[in-house]
Symmetry: C2
Subunit: 317 residues, 2 copies
Amino acid sequence: MSLAPDPIVIQEVALCDGLQIEPAWVPTEEKVRLADALSGFGFSRIELSSFVSPLAVPALRDAEEVFARVRRASGCIYVALVPNLRGAQRALAAGADELNLVMSSSDTHNRANMGMDAGTSFRAFAEIVPRALDSGVGLNGTVSTAFGCPFEGPQDEDRVLALVERYRALGVRGVTLADTTGMANPRQVEALVERVLSLVPAEDLTLHFHNTRGMGLANLLAAYEAGARRFDAALGGLGGCPFAPGASGNICTEDVVNMCHDMGLTTGLDLPGLIGLSRILPALLGHDTPGQVAKAGRACDLHPSPGTQALRRQRKA
Amino acid sequence: MSLAPDPIVIQEVALCDGLQIEPAWVPTEEKVRLADALSGFGFSRIELSSFVSPLAVPALRDAEEVFARVRRASGCIYVALVPNLRGAQRALAAGADELNLVMSSSDTHNRANMGMDAGTSFRAFAEIVPRALDSGVGLNGTVSTAFGCPFEGPQDEDRVLALVERYRALGVRGVTLADTTGMANPRQVEALVERVLSLVPAEDLTLHFHNTRGMGLANLLAAYEAGARRFDAALGGLGGCPFAPGASGNICTEDVVNMCHDMGLTTGLDLPGLIGLSRILPALLGHDTPGQVAKAGRACDLHPSPGTQALRRQRKA
């Protein structure tokens, strides 16, 4: 296991991929408060909202307002998720620092999710890229279902690599491989990350894992071992998959940060702050969240020994 | 990442470490039914109960009866957890195939859990070993809190290694390193497993992880990469830690098996059978369980594409 001291970069996606499936409306001011707290805890990248159809994803219908009201912390890139040209126009008008273009390796998933096939997605991206570059706005391209599609099953590695190259050829510098419904396993992650890192430098590659089948942090570890250094994660482990009711969502930010810090890796993030913020989520959303460290505390948060407790009871008595 | 095809051996501990903290009484016949279903799904090792004080752990007060009533599947070793001489006498009388001796690397934890220090534990073990060997009963020795104690914090690796050697010198062949309250991280696991495997062959070493801080499968992966092949796990992820209310318990058997199978590793276990069995646990215990695969299904369990669904609706209409 190589343990180079390269810092880990975590992009916080709770406000976008996390909130999009929440049934309860989270008021705009609460979203802005969360985003401002998150930037205060040291994030260099926050995926702030998604410029999709408000009918398709009503939970994020306030994307423009969230971008307008958030405090733009210096050193933090505020990313907008964008599925098509209309979304890109809205995101550019709203002042996003970076557009995250999204399409699926699986045509079946792309049609179900975006209403188009891969070719149609890339024709839209070809129109978006020059507009973003003209505006000085960064670009990232996500390959969803890169590790498996809930309809098609395993995805061909060569096809995923071809999509990565297609993004790069268009001028999209950052690339995200997304395990959209949590189907990846560590062996597969290692193999695909190694191949993609032969095309794309580590600073341009992000891994997006879900913990749907409990393997989220194991997949992150495998990706790290294969050379990846940038990961998406959501506070509290928000998010989820419509095909896995009750299962976990995105890998949980504070659980990832806790593992990294325990392993001696740096993230630049304030873990106690994140844990405190995560603990307000159940009240905000009306349900428990999957994150573990917000419940268990850090391993370094010790408990008084039973002897001490007995002594305390004695002192009180 | 080395991916040798050695099979993974999973010891099922739901009936012992899993049930011990359950507030609801699980009737003996339900325990026996679970154990018999588990052996039918291919386990070669089941930790069936714990011969501790019935006052300390009332949930397992029927240990003798469970051993008497379980169907002894051929090829399956039925293990009894044993903290002291009295427990060993009961376990031998009950017909256990193997005694799992338990003590903690942390004296503070050993005193809190067992009411004695390490030296007292080993004096008892020295009396137990010849009796077990005379009866042809196997022996395993667990070092609890080997990766951290909730009272003392980090544990000295040299001390853990010395306890492993002390077990082996007594004639205890199998050794388990237990992350009793889920404090381990992958880097630490890799380091300790590598050192212990210089003393003990892989077939005699078991790793016992909890998912308290979400790192359970990442720790298993790190241990596997370091050469470990034997792991404890509990159906549904039962178990838990009194210091982490709401957090996960033992690593979840079906989640472990699912990860292993997806990685191409063999376990000899019937995963669909395990998933089905795990799904009865919430009704039996009166609460949700932490396992993910029982909720999400396997990655290979595909969903009909939305097109097919639309077609089906059309056909019905």
